[in-house]
């Protein structure tokens, strides 16, 4: 579609098409502004070069109406760009309901991806075409930045937080994946590829990985091994909140605030429970910072999410 423009990068997602449109609009506008300035500089420079006979009489004395004119014009133009950009950003950075969620962990200097079925890959990410994919991003060490140029999506991967981003690929093929936040010695080689496959190919690929346990099942084991189930269960003597169905709800905190229980919230509660005490419960949970690695945390979170969905669907 954009092949006619020279030096144009691959465009392989619905996100990318939207960004292309605004980019082309701004490119055209920028060229127009630059060429206008260049043209005026050139014309004035030639016409009013020293020694030319052009008349210099009646120099403009009152300038304020020009100033007000072009201040208003630029301000109006910029506001249009702002609104166009801001509305698209809100769409780009608010993940819609996803067809599939994949967990991605950045680590010096590699990307680890974990599929919900338990399939794992390194420096590669296999996804189906025409599906809304939501990525949950975590970092084990420093800040990385997850960037797929062909999808025009990017998000920093910040230690101590979980970030999410989404895309919907519309073209099969292999596309570059890069880290764009300097993360130390081998930052330049922290790269990989995103492979967009047709639905059946993807299903076949998932099946070929030889996986025994799903991601959430692995989390369920950790949930028991680390003693979480000792308190967070119906027959426990400790007064702790039940976690069934907590994901995706609003939670009232002891300090009166209300938090939306997304992945980032669950992570905060596990790592730093004293700061996130749920209203009506004693702050007795020990903190698990340092006891669980980033991908173990993600597994536990995936498990907590799964027990929510089990109850909803009645399975």
């Amino acid at each position: 579609m954009y092949r006619w423009i020279p030096f144009w990068p691959d465009t392989a997602a619905v996100n990318a098409i939207a960004v292309n449109n605004i980019y082309i609009a701004e490119l055209a506008l920028s060229s127009l502004i630059t060429l206008t300035v260049a043209f005026m500089l050139l014309t004035f420079s030639i016409r009013y070069r020293r020694g030319s006979t052009a008349s210099r009489a009646n120099l403009v004395q009152k300038t304020w109406h020009f100033e007000v004119g072009w201040t208003t014009a630029t301000l109006g133009l910029f506001l249009i760009l702002f609104v166009y950009g801001a509305s698209m950003y809100i769409w780009l950075y608010n993940p819609p309901p996803a067809d599939e969620e994949i967990y991605v962990v950045g680590k010096r200097w590699m990307w680890k991806a974990e599929h919900p079925g338990g399939q794992r890959e390194i420096d590669a990410l296999h996804v189906p075409i025409d599906k809304t994919i939501r990525l949950v991003l975590a970092s084990e060490d420093v800040i990385h930045s997850f960037f797929v140029p062909a999808f025009r999506i990017k998000h920093d991967v910040v230690p101590g937080a979980l970030e999410t981003i989404w895309f919907k690929a519309n073209k099969t093929g292999t596309f570059r994946l890069a880290c764009t936040q300097f993360c130390g010695l081998q930052h330049a080689t922290m790269a990989g590829e995103v492979v967009v496959m047709s639905g059946p190919d993807y299903a076949r690929w998932l099946g070929d990985q030889g996986v025994r346990e799903s991601f959430a099942e692995q989390g369920s084991e950790l949930f028991r091994a680390h003693g979480c189930s000792g308190c967070h269960s119906e027959n426990s003597t400790v007064h702790a909140p039940l976690l069934d169905g907590v994901y995706g709800t609003f939670v009232h905190m002891q300090d009166g605030s209300v938090r939306f229980a997304d992945e980032a919230y669950l992570r905060d509660c596990i790592v730093n429970p004293r700061s996130f005490t749920v209203a009506g419960y004693p702050p007795v949970m020990p903190d698990y910072a340092g006891q669980l690695g980033e991908d173990e945390l993600l597994k536990v979170i995936a498990y907590i999410k799964s027990i929510g969905s089990k109850r909803e669907t009645g399975r």
Binding site: L41, F44, Y48, E67, S145, A188
Partner: protein, 555 residues
């Protein structure tokens, strides 16, 4: 330096009552302990020229390395090179560049004062600057820091193994020099203006330095705190930026950019002032919209404090604060656009000559425009999400900081060279360098826009092989640029001895600095001048001009 004394008897010069500032005293201590703003300006000039070439050397190595995907340097060396290039160019060249040299030299001359308000503080600032310079050189010689000039945590606090502490301390100390110099300018401009030099009669260069001083004075203390906390965190592990101890890694970015975004304007505001002096002088007509230019400068200075988080659109800040900072970024672009329009229209009905300073100035306007419109693209949220952290950003800020600010620096250097040294620079060579700068610059940095949009990440020592042609083009351009930046060193040096002698007002300009001998006498003005006119009273129709003291000069 002593050669300039001998031939001062030229007919059209005012009778000599006092030796020039260069020849008043000749001992080494008369330079190192001087309180004369003009000598201190030259001391700063020597220091920052040295750092310009050190930082330039690092850039040369980087471009050599990137000429091929296989590279030339070890990854660890490349990482240290771009870090030191950033730190040295930002804090040891760009931020002090125009204020400490031309600001120091010309602010008192342009407002009709004998010196800056605090001459000892001024000298102290140079010593503090050099102390910080020694620390940064120590960091460089020992192996350099490897964090990028932005020192992002937790890389800088827990992971990097270079001389990060020394580099942060260098920036810490350097801040005090900024604060001392800017405080001096603010007080000087408020208190020491000659009779009749009202605020709306100040030359725009003075306004540029004034606005930048206000920004420096308010922003730099934050940087001082930032680097102090960073050093403490790295040394003792306070946990402020460490999520494992309840800290927040993004806190560093907020604190750092709260200084470092205004710092971008610290680099460009004085350059805008320089260009506003040069364009009217060579177009022989008043600047278009003087009041608008002043308002735009101050608006940029104030708005620059409310845009910092536009460096963090992909960092995980709230969507709504990203939207707010995008809006503020569009707002700050308005006064910048106004300035470009005003400079352009200031050529209308002028009588334009194309001497080297004017060529640099015209180059400035064009390169600043390209840097500006790409800045608008970066202010647009989804486009920033795409190109953030890529070479697009590198190209954008080099258009502003190098294309615009360094061009303005060279424009100022040529424009005021006869006043500073009493000698003309060789015009042919200077025009050649100005054009070479423009050509070399575009060859170096324009391909980087394309590389960035294709997705090449910044701070990478290698890249996929299919991007080599653009990188090679950029490296080739850099070699042209290196020549264009080294040439002035040669011919300006030559002109110190063999250059044609210049009279007090070689460019027939209107400012007070041109009313005294070249080079200026030690105590500037024999009598305090009285100002009766706004600046830039040039008349292109009759080729005449009136100085700010009200003296008319016919064609």
């Amino acid at each position: 330096m002593s050669v300039t004394t001998v031939e001062r008897a030229s007919a059209d010069e005012p009778p000599e009552t006092e030796p020039s500032y260069l020849t008043a005293e000749n001992t080494i201590s008369s330079w190192l302990l001087t309180r004369d703003h003009k000598r201190i300006a030259l001391l700063f000039f020597a220091s920052i020229t040295f750092f310009f070439f050190v930082g330039g050397m690092a850039a040369t190595l980087m471009r050599l390395n990137l000429a091929t995907p296989e590279g030339l340097l070890q990854p660890s060396v490349y990482n240290r090179m771009f870090t030191m290039h950033g730190i040295i160019m930002v804090w040891f060249f760009l931020i002090p560049s125009i204020p400490t040299t031309f600001g120091n030299f010309f602010i008192p001359l342009m407002i009709g004062a004998r010196d800056l308000a605090f001459p000892r503080v001024n000298l102290g600032s140079w010593y503090v600057f050099n102390l910080s310079g020694l620390v940064v050189l120590y960091s460089l010689v020992m192996g350099g820091a490897d964090t990028g000039w932005t020192f992002y945590t937790p890389l800088s606090t827990s992971f990097a193994n270079g001389y990060v502490f020394a580099a942060a301390m260098a920036v810490f100390i350097n801040g005090f020099s900024s604060i001392m110099t800017s405080l001096n300018f603010v007080v000087t401009i408020h208190r020491l203006r000659a009779p009749g030099m009202t605020w709306m009669r100040l030359p725009l260069f003075v306004w540029g330095i004034y606005s930048v001083s206000v920004v420096m004075l308010t922003a730099t203390p934050v940087l001082t705190m930032d680097t102090f906390l960073l050093a403490v965190e790295r040394f003792v592990g306070t946990g402020l930026f460490d999520p494992a101890h309840g800290g927040d890694v993004l806190l560093w970015q907020h604190m750092f950019w709260f200084y470092s975004h205004p710092a971008v304007y610290i680099m460009i505001l004085p350059a805008m002032g320089v260009i506003s002096e040069i364009i009217p002088c060579y177009a022989r007509r008043p600047i278009f919209g003087y009041a608008g230019m002043v308002i735009a400068l101050m608006a940029i200075a104030i708005l620059s404090f409310f845009v910092w988080a536009h460096h963090m659109f992909v960092a995980g800040i709230s969507i709504y604060s990203a939207v707010f900072f995008s809006l503020m970024t569009f707002f700050v672009a308005v006064p910048s656009a106004i300035k470009v329009f005003n400079w352009t229209v200031s050529l209308h009905k002028g009588s334009i000559s194309f001497d080297a300073p004017m060529l640099y100035a015209l180059g400035f306007v064009l390169l600043f425009t390209v840097g500006g419109v790409t800045g608008l693209m970066l202010a647009t949220l989804p486009v920033d999400v795409d190109v953030h952290g890529t070479y697009f950003v590198i190209a954008h800020f080099h258009y502003i900081m190098v294309g615009a600010t360094v061009s303005a620096y060279f424009a100022a250097l040529h424009y005021w060279w006869p006043k500073i040294t009493g000698r003309y620079y060789p015009e042919g060579w200077a025009r050649f360098s100005a054009i070479l700068t423009y050509v070399g610059f575009n060859f170096t940095f324009f391909p980087q826009f394309i590389l960035g949009y294709l997705g090449m990440a910044r701070r990478s020592y290698t890249y996929p092989a299919d991007w080599q042609s653009w990188n090679l083009l950029s490296s080739a351009g850099a070699s042209i640029l290196a020549v264009a930046y080294a040439l002035p060193l040669l011919y300006l040096g030559w002109s110190l001895i063999w250059g044609r002698k210049a009279g007090p007002n070689p460019w027939r300009a209107t400012g007070l600095e041109w009313a005294i001998a070249s080079p200026p006498p030690e105590h500037n003005f024999e009598r305090t001048p009285t100002v009766t006119l706004e600046p830039y009273s040039y008349d292109p129709e009759h080729g005449s001009f009136v100085t700010q003291e009200g003296r008319s000069h016919a064609r």
